[in-house]
C-alpha cells in the first residue's frame, strides 16, 4: 500500500458543522473503529444512565487491572526462580556428566570395586539427563 496515496473521508455537512475539531473527530473514529459497528444509534439515543454505567465499568476495570498486575508480577517471580533453578540443575548435571566420564575411566581401571555405587549413580544421572532433555524439547 503506497504511503503517498491520499485517503479522504466524506463527512456529512451537518456533522461537520456541529463539530469544532474535525481532526479530533476522525482521530476518535479511527481509534474506536472496532466498536463503531456495534453502535445502534437508535439505542444510543435512548440511553440515559451512561454515566452511572461508565463509573461501574471503570471501577471494575480498575479492580481487575490490579488483580491482573499482581498475578503477572507473581508469575514473573515464580518463572524467574524456576528458570534459575532449572539452569543451575542443568549446569550441575553437565558437571556431573564430566565426573561420570572420569569415573568411567576409573571403572575400566578399577573394575568391580566401584560397582555398587557406580551403577546407582549412573542410573540417577541418566534419569536426570533424560528429564532435562525432555523438558528442553517441551520448551522448543
Amino acid at each position: 500500500m503506497s504511503e503517498k496515496r491520499k485517503f479522504n473521508i466524506w463527512i456529512p455537512d451537518s456533522t461537520a458543522e456541529s463539530t469544532p475539531d474535525l481532526t479530533d473527530l476522525v482521530d476518535q473514529l479511527i481509534y474506536y473503529y472496532p466498536y463503531l459497528m456495534k453502535v445502534d444509534c437508535e439505542e444510543l439515543k435512548k440511553k440515559k444512565d451512561l454515566e452511572k454505567e461508565s463509573d461501574e465499568v471503570n471501577a471494575e476495570f480498575f479492580q481487575i487491572s490490579q488483580v491482573h498486575g499482581k498475578l503477572r508480577q507473581e508469575y514473573g517471580v515464580v518463572h524467574f526462580e524456576a528458570n534459575e533453578l532449572y539452569t543451575r540443575n542443568t549446569l550441575t548435571g553437565l558437571k556431573l556428566g564430566m565426573l561420570m566420564k572420569k569415573l568411567n575411566r576409573a571403572k575400566s581401571i578399577w573394575g568391580e570395586k566401584l560397582n555398587l555405587d557406580y551403577d546407582s549413580a549412573k542410573e540417577m544421572i541418566k534419569h536426570y539427563s533424560d528429564r532435562y532433555l525432555l523438558k528442553k524439547e517441551e520448551e522448543i
Binding site: I9, W10, L36, N58, I64, R88
Partner: protein, 116 residues
C-alpha cells in the same frame, strides 16, 4: 460509498499519522484501508440522521465503555491463563528444588567415589 443525494458532504483528508493508524487497523482487522474508510463513512452517514444535542458525547462514552468491557474480558482471560501458568511454574519449581537437593547429594556421592 453510496452517498445520499439530499445531503452535502465535507471532504476531510487524512493526515500522515491518521493514515499510519489506518494501515495498522487494516492489518489488525484483516481488512483494507478503503473498506475501513467506507465503514467509517457509512457510520457517519447513519449517525448524522440523529440531530440530538450531546449525541457525539454519548457516542464517545459508549465507545469508551465498549472498549473497557473488551479489555476487562481480555484481562479476565489472561488472569485465568496466568493462574494456570503460575501453578505450572510452582510445580516445576517444586520438582527442580527436589532435583537440586538430589543432585547435590549425588555430587557428594560421586565426589567421594572419585576420591577412591
Amino acid at each position: 460509498m453510496s452517498f445520499s443525494k439530499k445531503k452535502k458532504y465535507v471532504k476531510y483528508e487524512l493526515s500522515y499519522k491518521q493514515k499510519q493508524k489506518l494501515f495498522k487497523l487494516a492489518n489488525q482487522n484483516d481488512s483494507n484501508p478503503d473498506k475501513i474508510v467506507n465503514q467509517i463513512e457509512e457510520f457517519l452517514d447513519r449517525f448524522s440522521e440523529y440531530d440530538e444535542e450531546d449525541l457525539w458525547e454519548k457516542l464517545l462514552s459508549f465507545l469508551h465503555l465498549k472498549m473497557l468491557e473488551d479489555k476487562i474480558n481480555q484481562k479476565s482471560d489472561d488472569i485465568i491463563e496466568t493462574k494456570k501458568k503460575i501453578n505450572q511454574e510452582k510445580k516445576f519449581l517444586g520438582e527442580y528444588e527436589e532435583d537440586y537437593l538430589t543432585i547435590v547429594e549425588l555430587n557428594r556421592a560421586l565426589d567421594s567415589l572419585n576420591k577412591v
